[in-house]
């Protein structure tokens, strides 16, 4: 059961080896992986939207989509058909080529990151030894698409959204990468597979002080990285219509949407891989564990969206530079101490350092509260 998909692929390869030359087999193996990812990704995206609408609706005491099919399960397909048949509009004076390329560019990196996600034991499409670096590099290319789309649309709203997106990603990339650094320090590798294997038998990194803080930092910064509420300033509906995709319609808009949702899913998957033990877990098959953890984090993302209002741009910057960044640096220091201290000292020490710094940093990052003015003469 654990190796279900791996053995299926092997059987297919064995079958094709009967009437195909040996030299073609590695290519076919690659092709299968690519085909599976390219098929699974749209399905993941479609049912992510369904899940999001359902969960948010429940949080607001509504039912959500429940007309198309049982539990509204056909709703994403109906949406897809709607998107496909809608008119494709390019604004007058827009940079047509960039306007066309931006949505494509939004989806491709979101698909590429799936190559290094370990979906289960032996289920990483390519086990790159720089997998983590590849993931971080690819996931920030999405911003380029957002900016290209916003710039090419020749609309003030789009451009504002794009500018916000760039400012946001630059700010949140730093604490996110620093939060990942602790994992690299502990495992000494950038390969996602090796990181998961280092968290064997419930020694998940989230159960250590530095791992816990790193997980929170990574997840928060990750949510900001994929433009989800409360960090959805690039497309803040109430302020700038729809931000960078204001001028997009039909399938181009759907592609942006897809890139965004796939990015969110991949980010949840990476958080599960790095800190929650990836596919490690007792009893259940490994891929199921991975999906469970990832979907738990996806649920938390949706939960965030159902709860928090959008941040203001200055609050966003404050939070990243004054709170997340110093905390992630302190976390790196704590992880360094952890490596060289005996277990009796390192636990209380790490907890005390991280707790006090978290308390003080959040207090310092609070906006200045001016004292209430009293008008003595007026009385």
């Amino acid at each position: 059961m654990d190796q279900l998909f791996v053995s299926l692929k092997q059987q297919f390869l064995d079958l094709s080896s009967r009437f195909l030359p040996e030299s073609l087999l590695p290519w076919i193996s690659m092709l299968i992986s690519i085909a599976v990812i390219a098929t699974i990704a749209p399905i993941i995206m479609m049912y992510f939207t369904w899940l999001e609408r359902k969960v948010i609706a429940r949080m607001q005491n509504r039912f959500g989509p429940n007309r198309a099919g049982k539990f509204g399960l056909l709703q994403p397909i109906a949406d897809g058909i709607k998107m496909l048949t809608k008119e494709d509009i390019v604004p007058a004076g827009a940079d047509r080529l960039a306007h066309f390329l931006a949505p494509v560019l939004a989806v491709i990196p979101a698909l590429l990151v799936f190559a290094v996600l370990p979906f289960g034991r032996n289920m990483t499409a390519i086990d790159l030894n720089i997998g983590l670096l590849f993931f971080l590099a690819m996931s920030s290319i999405g911003t380029f698409a957002v900016f290209a789309g916003g710039w090419a649309s020749r609309s003030k709203f789009s451009l504002l959204g794009a500018m916000r997106s760039v400012a946001q990603i630059i700010s949140y990339e730093v604490p996110m990468v620093l939060a990942v650094v602790v994992v690299i320090m502990m495992t000494g590798t950038l390969s996602t597979n090796a990181i998961v294997e280092a968290q064997e038998s419930l020694r998940w990194f989230v159960f250590t002080p530095w791992g816990f803080v790193g997980f929170l930092l990574f997840f928060i910064a990750g949510v900001a990285e994929v433009n989800r509420t409360p960090f959805d300033l690039p497309e803040g509906e109430s302020e700038i219509v729809a931000g960078f995709h204001t001028e997009y319609s039909g399938m181009k808009f759907a592609l942006f949407y897809m890139g965004e949702f796939l990015g969110a899913f991949a980010m949840a998957g990476l958080a599960a891989t790095l800190f929650l033990g990836g596919w490690q877990g007792p009893l259940l098959p490994s891929w199921l564990w991975f999906l469970l953890k990832t979907y738990a984090l996806v649920f938390v993302m949706i939960w965030f969206r159902g709860t928090f209002p959008r941040l203001r741009i200055d609050q966003l910057m404050n939070f990243a530079w004054k709170c997340l960044l110093p905390l992630s640096m302190i976390n790196v220091g704590v992880a360094g101490l952890w490596l060289y201290l005996p277990a009796i000292i390192r636990w209380p020490l790490a907890i005390v350092i991280l707790w006090t710094s978290a308390v003080w940093l959040t207090r310092l990052a609070l906006p200045v509260q001016w004292e209430r003015r009293t008008y003595q003469l007026a009385e």
Binding site: R58, M59, Q60, N61, F63, N66, W303, T307, F308
Partner: protein
């Protein structure tokens, strides 16, 4: 103070609402001792229907007493004149010489059309009618498949009995009946003079 305390509090609120939206969640919350979360608000409209409030109004209809030919309307065209979006069209019943035909002692409309797609449910026609011949209905499911023909309601479609009116809006109907009775009494006493 825990950093992010307020955020956690907010998350707890949405989570309890999420849980409470399921029947098992309601029981679970009751078990832990969390009360006062209502759960689902949605009324699934075509299957479940909320009985409209008595004063809810949507579209006017013509009242008749007893039989459908005994209309209260005398085709005086006041409502046609007063209708703000001008969705009423009235033609009086006349004979060959162009004299108004009388039935049950009063004139009557030959045509009385109201366009559903234009009517804005303002109730001004009801207020201006001196004979209480037009009243507001609370039936709002008037959708049609074609845009022009079936959305213009003609006289036959607009006719509804006084009993129906008393049934959907008892309070208002009682007022109208009292007013009509007083009027009838006044005409009865005035006549001999």
């Amino acid at each position: 103070m825990i950093p992010g305390q307020g955020l956690l509090k907010g998350l707890a609120v949405t989570l309890t609402n999420f849980v409470a939206s399921y029947p098992w969640g309601q029981r679970l919350l009751k078990l832990i001792g969390i009360n006062g979360i209502s759960g689902m608000f949605t009324v699934e409209y075509p299957e479940q229907q909320v009985k409209p409030a008595e004063r809810f109004r949507y579209f006017p209809f013509l009242v008749y007493d007893g039989t459908p030919d005994n209309l209260r309307c005398v085709a005086c065209k006041i409502c046609e004149q007063e209708c703000p979006p001008q969705c009423i069209y009235i033609e009086m019943e006349k004979d060959e010489q162009g004299r108004p035909v009388k039935q049950h002692g009063r004139t009557l409309p030959k045509r009385f059309d109201i366009d559903v797609s234009v009517c804005m449910s303002c109730r001004i026609c009801v207020d201006v009618c001196p004979f209480d011949a037009i009243e507001m209905d609370n039936d709002f499911e008037l959708g049609a498949y074609d845009r022009f023909q079936s959305l213009v309601f003609e006289k036959d479609k607009l006719l509804k009995s006084a009993e129906y009116f008393a049934q959907i809006k008892p309070t208002e109907a009682a007022e109208v009946n009292a007013r009509l009775a007083a009027k009838a009494k006044k005409t009865a006493t005035d006549k001999p003079v």
